[in-house]
């Protein structure tokens, strides 16, 4: 086990395109770090540089304190799980798992190999499949074999390259849990690449969000969600995405600071308003769950937010939650920004509609005019020109990440107490 340190890592291809641009990340021993971003953001390239399958153009890569820039993959002692599993089709499951040990000639006796494979197979529920060939296994089983191969190595770190993307949704959820538990139990430093934000949020101690080869923010999932550094992170993390409502901060007729938006005026707390005051136009980021039907909000909370009424275009009821959609006229000054953001995030054009989470029991329908309350204190204001989050509370954010680190330490101690 070892820490992994990336210092100003750059990967430039022959045509001068920087796939990875000046990325610095410190991965602690035993930490589970996720690299997430839309396709083409350089996350896989970064992972392949760590494992040694891609050369590092410039910067310094350390594993356990040693610079490994020029070491071949076999000398880095890392284990990797590939997207397509990369199992050896001509070998049985047993031999697939034993493969790394067979390569290290003389290091393991026959019994040790057998013992280790049996233990890994037991951990992954593969015991009865050891004599089969990979072609006869299901997707989830192949995935487990690939993980078994990583486990027996006792490697410095595990690297995962979108390991779940070939599985169907149900199996993905199950494997996600298994990977998470396995990592906690073995307490091995892990780097995991994915484009799926659910995987990122559920697995990671810390999540690094990348866009076009540039690190946007690295923080605990909670910090990313609550205190995103910029528009991209705010939009990328969370499903459904954060709403971005264009508006101008001004003093309203009643004397309070408010944001005048196409949806009406939203009263803002002083400290948020102050951050966006000197801008012509700002984007107000509000997650769907910041909204509620006004009638559902208790009097005491009501004062902390702002109420407006809007006509719902349609409603989606999902059983445990319900989303209402509201169309509005977009501000032409931010149309381009939002379009670029959609392109960066790999999604279709962001429609100018507000997504609002209402109570699942609510009987509002499309076409109704609803009174909606928004928790104005949680709104973030973004500068459309730079994308920067104007209201980010860095201290509160790092507190969230510190808490996550503490949680992990507790997990580790508990695992150690249970005999690992």
């Amino acid at each position: 086990m070892a820490s992994i340190t990336l210092n100003n890592i750059v990967k430039e291809y022959d045509d001068g395109f920087p796939a990875v641009n000046d990325i610095s990340i410190d991965i602690e021993d035993g930490e589970f770090v996720i690299l997430v971003g839309p396709s083409g953001c350089g996350k896989s390239t970064l992972l392949r540089m760590i494992v040694g399958l891609e050369d590092v153009t410039s910067g310094e890569l350390r594993i356990g304190g040693d610079v490994v820039n020029d070491k071949p993959p076999r000398d880095r002692n890392l284990a990797m799980v590939f997207q397509n599993y990369a199992l050896y089709p001509h070998l049985t499951v047993f031999e697939n798992i034993a493969f790394p040990m067979r390569l290290a000639k003389g290091k393991f006796t026959q019994e040790e190999v057998k013992d280790k494979v049996q233990r890994a197979a037991g951990m992954l529920e593969l015991t009865e499949h050891l004599d089969r060939k990979p072609a006869n296994l299901s997707g989830g089983q192949r995935q487990r074999v690939a993980m078994g191969r990583a486990i027996v190595r006792e490697a410095n770190a595990f690297l995962f390259d979108e390991p779940l993307s070939n599985l169907d949704a149900k199996l993905r959820g199950q494997m996600r849990t298994e990977i998470s538990q396995l990592q906690r139990r073995l307490n091995t430093t892990s780097v995991y690449v994915t484009h799926d934000q659910t995987e990122a949020m559920t697995l990671g101690d810390r999540v690094a969000v990348l866009k076009r080869g540039v690190l946007q923010q690295i923080a605990s999932p909670r910090e990313l969600y609550e205190q995103p550094a910029n528009l991209f992170v705010a939009g990328f993390i969370g499903a459904p995405s954060m709403n971005f409502i264009p508006g101008t901060v001004q003093r309203s007729s009643t004397g309070a600071m408010c944001l005048s938006t196409p949806l009406g005026e939203i009263e803002l707390p002083e400290h948020i308003a102050a951050a966006g005051q000197d801008k012509d136009v700002v984007l107000a980021g509000a997650r769907p769950e910041f909204f509620e039907e006004a009638s559902q909000v208790r009097e005491s909370r009501r004062a902390r937010g702002s109420v407006f009424s809007a006509e719902l275009s349609h409603v989606e009821w999902l059983g445990n939650e319900q989303y209402a959609y509201i169309s509005y006229e977009n501000d032409p000054r931010v149309a381009e920004v939002l379009q670029n953001l959609a392109a960066d995030m790999d999604t279709d054009e962001l429609r100018t509609q507000l997504v609002v989470a209402v109570d699942a029991m609510s009987r509002v329908r499309g076409g109704d005019t609803a009174e909606l309350w928004v928790d104005a204190g949680r709104i973030h204001l973004f500068d459309p020109a730079t994308g920067e989050n104007l209201t980010r509370d860095a201290e509160a954010g790092s507190e969230l990440t510190r808490q996550a680190a503490e949680d992990r330490r507790r997990d580790r101690e508990r695992a150690a107490a249970n005999g690992g």
Binding site: L53, L78, F82, A86, L103
Partner: protein
């Protein structure tokens, strides 16, 4: 149910017809090879009395020298040509499948062009050149033209095959602690071997069955392969056709081909379709 039986019956009849059509000459030669000289002209299909005289003649009798040296030439030349073709084609196909280099399409295109070039148009100039530089009537003088027959199809088949190999395995093996050579040997070779083997069999057939080069570029027993040597068999007397001996020799040289096909028919079919569909 009746439909499937009908279609099955239809297919069976079609299969029998095709088999009969293509196997008839082989069976006829087989029958001839067991006939006595007297039987050969009596217009009956099967011999009236079966005899091994023809086989005796080519293995231990007067045609022995002609046939056995030709057989040795055939085996030697074909094996060497196959070996060289497969080695070169493997390297070439590996590069084509794995590396991105300028002229990749040109190599494949040139290989195709060579393979569709009619043999008969090349053989006369080759005859002259070979005589000038002393390759006429030598093993090498046949191996080189055989390569021109076997290399193109080998390159096409192998590059189609190599393209299907998941090369991530090589990387996975390296991460697992293998050197580049170990990764190739332990992860890639076991997967590539069936393809290489199939290609070798196909190349072997092509070289083994050649007649035009064999008859044109040789003049003595020094290099003459079996298909060409058959034409030089003589009867017991000047007035007797050596049909029986020729038939026996033809059957003997067909045997290795038939055995190979029976043993490896699955690989050959998949190899051929790979070349055809994916190439």
């Amino acid at each position: 149910m009746s439909v499937t039986t009908k279609t099955r019956l239809g297919w069976a009849i079609a299969a029998v017809l095709v088999l009969g059509y293509s196997l008839f000459p082989v069976v006829a030669i087989f029958a001839n090879s067991f006939k006595t000289p007297g039987d050969l002209g009596n217009q009956r299909f099967w011999p009236t009395s079966w005899t091994l005289a023809n086989y005796e003649m080519i293995f231990v009798g007067q045609a022995q020298e002609l046939f056995l040296t030709a057989l040795r030439n055939s085996i030697g030349i074909t094996l060497i040509a196959t070996f060289i073709a497969v080695v070169l084609a493997t390297l070439c196909a590996y590069a084509i499948a794995r590396l991105d280099f300028p002229g990749k399409r040109l190599v494949l295109g040139a290989a195709l062009a060579v393979s569709i070039f009619p043999v008969i148009s090349v053989v006369t100039p080759l005859f002259n050149v070979w005589r000038q530089i002393g390759l006429y009537d030598t093993w090498l003088g046949l191996i080189i033209p055989y390569l021109s027959l076997t290399l193109p199809i080998s390159i096409w088949t192998l590059s189609a095959f190599f393209r299907q190999i998941p090369w991530d395995l090589e990387l996975a093996a390296q991460v697992d602690g293998a050197t580049q050579w170990q990764a190739f040997r332990k992860a890639i070779v076991p997967l590539a071997a069936p393809g290489v083997f199939t290609t070798a069999i196909i190349a072997f057939f092509i070289a083994w069955n050649d007649f035009v080069y064999g008859i044109s570029l040789t003049s003595t027993e020094a290099a003459r392969p079996v298909p060409a040597a058959l034409a030089f068999f003589t009867g017991a007397s000047q007035f007797e056709q050596p049909t029986g001996a020729i038939s026996a020799a033809a059957i003997v040289v067909t045997i290795p081909v038939v055995v190979l096909v029976l043993l490896f028919q699955r690989q050959i079919v998949s190899g051929l379709t790979q070349g055809a569909v994916k190439g």
